[in-house]
Symmetry: C2
Subunit: 453 residues, 2 copies
Amino acid sequence: MKVILLSGGSGKRLWPLSNDTRSKQFLRLLASPSGEQESMVQRVVRQIVESQITDSITLATSNTQHDIITNQLGASIDLVTEPERHDTFPAIALAVNFLLNERQCDPQEVIVVMPCDVYTEAGYFKAAARMAEAAARDEADIVLMGIRPTSGTTEFGYIVPGQPQKGQLATPVQQFVEKPSRDRAAALLKEGAWWNAGVFAFKAAYLQNIVDHYVPSASFAQLRAQYGRLPRISFDYEVVEQAARLAFVSYSGQWKDIGTWDALAEELPTSTIGRVTLAGEVDNTHAINELDLPLLCVGTRDLVVAASPDGLLVAAKDAGEMIKDYVERMPARPMYEERRWGEYKVLNSVTFPDGHQILTKELRIAAGKGISYQKHLHRDEVWTFVDGEGLLVIDDKVTRVGRGTVVNIVKGQMHAVKALTPLTFIEVQSGDMLVEEDILRFPWDWDAAEAAL
Amino acid sequence: MKVILLSGGSGKRLWPLSNDTRSKQFLRLLASPSGEQESMVQRVVRQIVESQITDSITLATSNTQHDIITNQLGASIDLVTEPERHDTFPAIALAVNFLLNERQCDPQEVIVVMPCDVYTEAGYFKAAARMAEAAARDEADIVLMGIRPTSGTTEFGYIVPGQPQKGQLATPVQQFVEKPSRDRAAALLKEGAWWNAGVFAFKAAYLQNIVDHYVPSASFAQLRAQYGRLPRISFDYEVVEQAARLAFVSYSGQWKDIGTWDALAEELPTSTIGRVTLAGEVDNTHAINELDLPLLCVGTRDLVVAASPDGLLVAAKDAGEMIKDYVERMPARPMYEERRWGEYKVLNSVTFPDGHQILTKELRIAAGKGISYQKHLHRDEVWTFVDGEGLLVIDDKVTRVGRGTVVNIVKGQMHAVKALTPLTFIEVQSGDMLVEEDILRFPWDWDAAEAAL
C-alpha cells in the first residue's frame, strides 16, 4: 500500500499566519510528542510513520509549496508537483502515474489518498489500513472512510450505508451524496449516513484506466506535459460518484479540520506563542506573535490575536469565520516566505510619489544552499552581509563574502550567492517595478567555481 | 502676562504610541478645527493663541523632547530645556529666570504656568486670564485654578475655599491639601473643596526670590549651570504649600487628563486611524495602526488596539490602567523617533549568537536639515539612498548623493549628511554595541563646504 497525501489550499482563514505560500498545514503551531511545535503536514507524516501502515508517502502539491515542504519534511518523501493548480482529480491522477512509472508500483497495488490538514489520532490510520485491505480484497472499486457526523453541515459529502456483507471489512455504500442541502443533510442524518472523510483507497490500475480515457500516456513526463488536458474537477465528482462499486470503513475517533482560528486555538500547546505578555484578568485569549515587537494583551476575553509580517488580526473567537472574506481583499505580496534556500521577511516597502519603489528584506540562507544565478531588469539591489560566510558571483567573478561585505548589484548585473555557513544579509531593492517576476535565471556551476577559487 | 507651558512625562500609559521621547502630549491624534490631526501640545498652543491672553509662550521641557517640540511647534515659541530632568519646581524656576534674564521680562510681570497635556476648552484660558489679573492686583502670592471635582480621587491636590472677598477676582484659599487619603478626599468633597488644576499665576519676582534663596544667579546661563543645586521637588510642595497668601479662580468647563487609552479614545476623531479594517459586528472598538501592515479587527467589543514600531497593544477598555506596570518592564529602545532633522523608524534588530548586532532603520531627513558630523567607534553603517538629493561628507570629502548612492561608513570614519530635498535612506548598522551613546560629534561648516563644491 502506498499513501498519497494531498496538500492544497491557500488558508486565508488563518490569516495573517497563513498566506499563498504558507497554507495552514505548514504552520508550526501544534504540540508534538518531542516537545517542539510541528505543523499539520509534519504531524500527519509523523503519524503515518508511527502507524507503520506504509513505507511510501508521496505528497501531491503545487509548485508554490515545493520549497516549504522540502524545508519541513526534508527529502524523505516523494513530491509530485502540479504544473499549475487544478483540482483533486488531476492532482491524484498525476501522483498515481508517478508511482506507476517513476516508482515501478505494481498496478494491483492499493493507493490510499488522504488530506494533510486534518487533526486525527492513531485509529484514523488503522481505519486507513483496513480500507487498503478491503480494496486489496476487491471488496469495491473505491473504499471510502466514513466519519461519525456531529452536525448536519452542508460542507461535506454524505455516505448512506447499504447492507453489511458477511466476512467483508468494508460496508457497501448505498448512496453517496456530495454537499447536500440543509434539509437533505438532516434527512441523511436520520438515515444513519456518515460524513465522507476525503480518504480514498483503490488499486492503482483502476484510476490509471480512468486517466487513460482522457490522456493516454506512456510516462510521467508525458502526462505532466499534458496536465492541462485532464478535467479540472474534484476526485469525488469524477471518480467516487462514477464508481460502480463503493464501500466504506467507519472511523469514530478524533477528526477535525483545523481551518479556523477557533479550532486551531483548541490544539495550541500554550495560550501564547512568541513575544506575548498577558496582563490583568485575561480569559480565553490565544495570542501568537511572529513579529519582533512585543505584544501586550490586557484584560482581554474570548479573543484570538495573531501578528505576522503579513498583518495583524484581533478577532472575537466566535467571529473567526468571517476573516476569509476580508483577507481576500488584502494585498497579495507575502511578507514572509520559506524558500528552498532558507527564508526571508520583508522589513519595509515604500512607493515614492514619482512611482519609484523600495523594498527592504532580511534574507537568511541555510548552509550549503544558495540563490540561483540571476539578473533583474527593473531593480538594483544592495546587499549588506551581516552574519555568516559565503560565496558571491557578480558577472562570473567569484568572491568570498561575510560580515561587513557590501555589494551594490545594479540592473542587468548577473549575481548568485551561496552560503558556506548560515548566511544573513539585508537587501534593499530599489526600482520602478519590484515584482517577483522580474528575474532572469541562468545556469551556474558552483563546483567548478569553488574548485577554481 | 507670560505663559510657561510644562511638558514632561514619559507617557507609558499610552504605550505603544508613546515612548521615552514621544510622550503622550506629542501624539498627533486629536481632531482639530483645520481637519488635520493635532497633538495635545499643538492643541494647547493653538488654544492659547486663539484666546489672545498672551503673546509670549515659553515651553519648559527636557533635552530629550527638544527635537519633537521643534518639529511640532516650529520656532515660534521659546524653549527652555532642563539639563537633566528633575521636577516641576526647578523646571519652572529655570523658565522664569529665562524670561527675566533672556527676555527682559519685568519682575512685576505675572507668569501663568500650565500643563500641556490637559484637554480643555476656551473657558479654561479665560479663567487663566482672570488668575493673572488677580495676581497682578496682588490679591495673593500664588493664584491657583480650581476644577469642579467629579470624584474623590486621591491623585490630585484639593483646594478648600475661604470667604470670598468683595471686589476680588479670586477667592482666598483656606487650606490646600496635596493628594489626600481616600477618606480625607471624601470629607474634602463635603466641605466644597475643588481640585487643583496645576495652573499657577504669580509675579516673576515672587518666584525669583525663592530661587535666589537656593542659588543666587545673575544670569540664565549661571542658573542653568547650577541646575543640580535646586531642590528636586514639585512646585506644589516647594511653592504652593509655603505661600502665605493663596487664592484661586474656579473653572467648571471641560477638563480632562488624556492619560489613558480609555480617555484618549473618547477624543479621537474616528474609531480607526491608519491601516485598519473593522469587520463583522464590531462594538466600541478603537484601533490605531502606525505600522505598514494591515490590521483586521473582527467582531471585537470594548477594545483598544494600538500598533506602532514599539509594539502591539490589545486592551479591554476597562483595563487600560494596568498598561503602565507592564510597559515599564519592556525594552527601552524607541522604535520610532522624531528628530530635529526629521524622523527614523527601526525596521529590524537582530543579535547573533556571538553577540554581534545589526539594526536596520529607515531615515527621512527634511529638506535643508542634516545629521551632524560624527563618528562611531563600535559600528559600521551602510547607507542606501533611495529618494531625494543631498550632500554627504566622509572624512572631510563632500559628494552629492541621491537615489542609487550606496555608502559603507566603517568604524572611525567621520560622516555627515545634509538634505537638499527631502532625503530618504536605509541604514544598516552593524557592530558589537549598537547604542545611541556611541557617537562623537565634530563641528562642520556646511556653508563653506557648499561654496567650495
